[in-house]
């Protein structure tokens, strides 16, 4: 970086636009820009509900900010995801203590007509998905959501979870079986419920 001819000494005016704030701030900013959405979605899919998702996402990044120096650049996403897993567990415990009724997403989003009906059904389905995912053991839920919903590759998941790929594959198979069983059970419950009416 060149120093501007007239730049006062000690004042970081440069002739180009490469002046950088403290390196950690830049890294943190990149971390947020690059992974905020991923962390948010992950927390949501790990069972954090409603307005708690934003708060939980903040907590993940505050932890990352605090421990940035300990995180290898290539392990950032893995660190964030693993923090998210722990924050999600904590958040779900709090939700249970509050006996919280999940915020109805239909209530806080504008009417997206002309697809209102479609969206309403999607929201209903999303709540059903929560119930099905809740029935999976966490180790299976992690792999399932990352593969089927986040659409990561198995190699990416292995990196993220620091597991051998074989383990990821076997968990994914088990997770998928459990998911399919649970969806079928929910469907038959729904059908029998209708028949009972």
């Amino acid at each position: 970086m060149r120093q501007a001819r007239l730049a006062p000494e000690g004042i970081a005016i440069r002739t180009d636009e490469t002046v950088e704030p403290a390196r950690d701030d830049l890294r943190l900013r990149r971390l947020v820009d690059g992974h905020y959405d991923f962390v948010w979605r992950s927390l949501r899919r790990l069972g954090v509900l409603g307005g708690d998702v934003d708060d939980a996402t903040q907590r993940v990044f505050l932890i990352a900010a605090r421990r940035l120096g300990d995180v290898r650049p290539e392990a950032e996403r893995s660190f964030l995801f693993q923090s998210a897993v722990r924050v999600a567990a904590d958040s779900r415990r709090t939700q249970r203590r509050r006996h919280e009724v999940p915020a109805d997403e239909a209530g806080d989003r504008p009417d997206p007509s002309p697809n209102a009906e479609e969206l309403l059904d999607a929201r209903q389905a999303r709540r059903e998905l929560d119930r099905v995912l809740d029935s999976l053991p966490m180790e299976l839920r992690l792999v399932f959501t990352l593969f089927e919903l986040e659409e990561l590759t198995m190699a990416e998941i292995a990196t993220l979870l620091e597991l051998p790929q074989g383990t990821v594959a076997s968990r994914l198979r088990r997770a998928r079986e459990s998911f399919r069983d649970e969806v079928a059970r929910a469907q038959s419950r729904r059908k029998s419920g209708k028949n009972d009416r």
């Binding site: 007239l6 947020v32 934003d54 505050l62 932890i63 504008p110 659409e151 993220l160 399919r180 079928a184």
Partner: protein, 304 residues
Amino acid sequence: MSDLERLLDTDATDAERRLLRSARLDAAPSAGKAHLLGALGLVAAGTASAPASGAAALFAKWIAIGAVAGAVTSGSVQVVRTFASSNDEATRREAVTAPARRARASSAPLGAAPNEVDPSGAVGKDALALNESALVDGDRASSNGARAASAGEGRPTLGGRANARDGRQKTVDFRGKFGESPGVPGAPSATAFPDVSEAPREPKLDVEVRSLDAARSALTSNDARGALAALDDYDRRFSAPRLAPEAALLRVEALLAVGRRTEARQVGERWLSRDPSGAHADRLRALLDDASRSTGDQSKPARP
């Protein structure tokens, strides 16, 4: 190892498909990100499409100026906080373009430059319609959020440092409070920011930065007159400038460069009397001292 195919791409039943597709509703409202950036003491949202360049780099420059000089606190914190309110449009742009960036990116290496490929944005193509409605909503929330993030900021003039220091202190406390353990409860709520959505809009700080940058560029190209013209323009455009100390410093340098020493001294001393320990006070004093000692070529600016 070859991947299994995803259920949605293979033999999922209708019921499974319906549930799996519903996960496409999971989209983060951008307001949360703006709050987070505020909580971390980083520039809030808005430049996500090119955070390491353009406006962000311009900001970095002026943040750095503030940071080095003593009244640091005012420089960095206020620039950071006020920027939050100035970036609604940029945030909107981000929200609108987000679906495009969500294109399947599983082939992107982990840790790839986040703004070239969104390594996390693995939402299928047909998810876009659903996501868009969520994003529009998030966008609206973001406007409020971004405004809220600038809550309680005093006007960042030389005299406004006390406010800024308070803000800085809050940020530091914030970081300190949430510790190593992910399980620490009580993370700051996004709603902790006061709602000032009715507050009047400030002129955009990035516009102010660019305007001042024109003056600086002229000065570094030995075009002191051009710099003075740019500074006059800056004074006309911004009635309550947030970068007034930087503007004053540049004006003194430019005036010295064209040999208008008396005026340079007047401007410099006026600032020094208003805030003797301000952002660029030492630098101003050095310039004025040099100028008064100098008996040489007046066409050259004073050097420290």
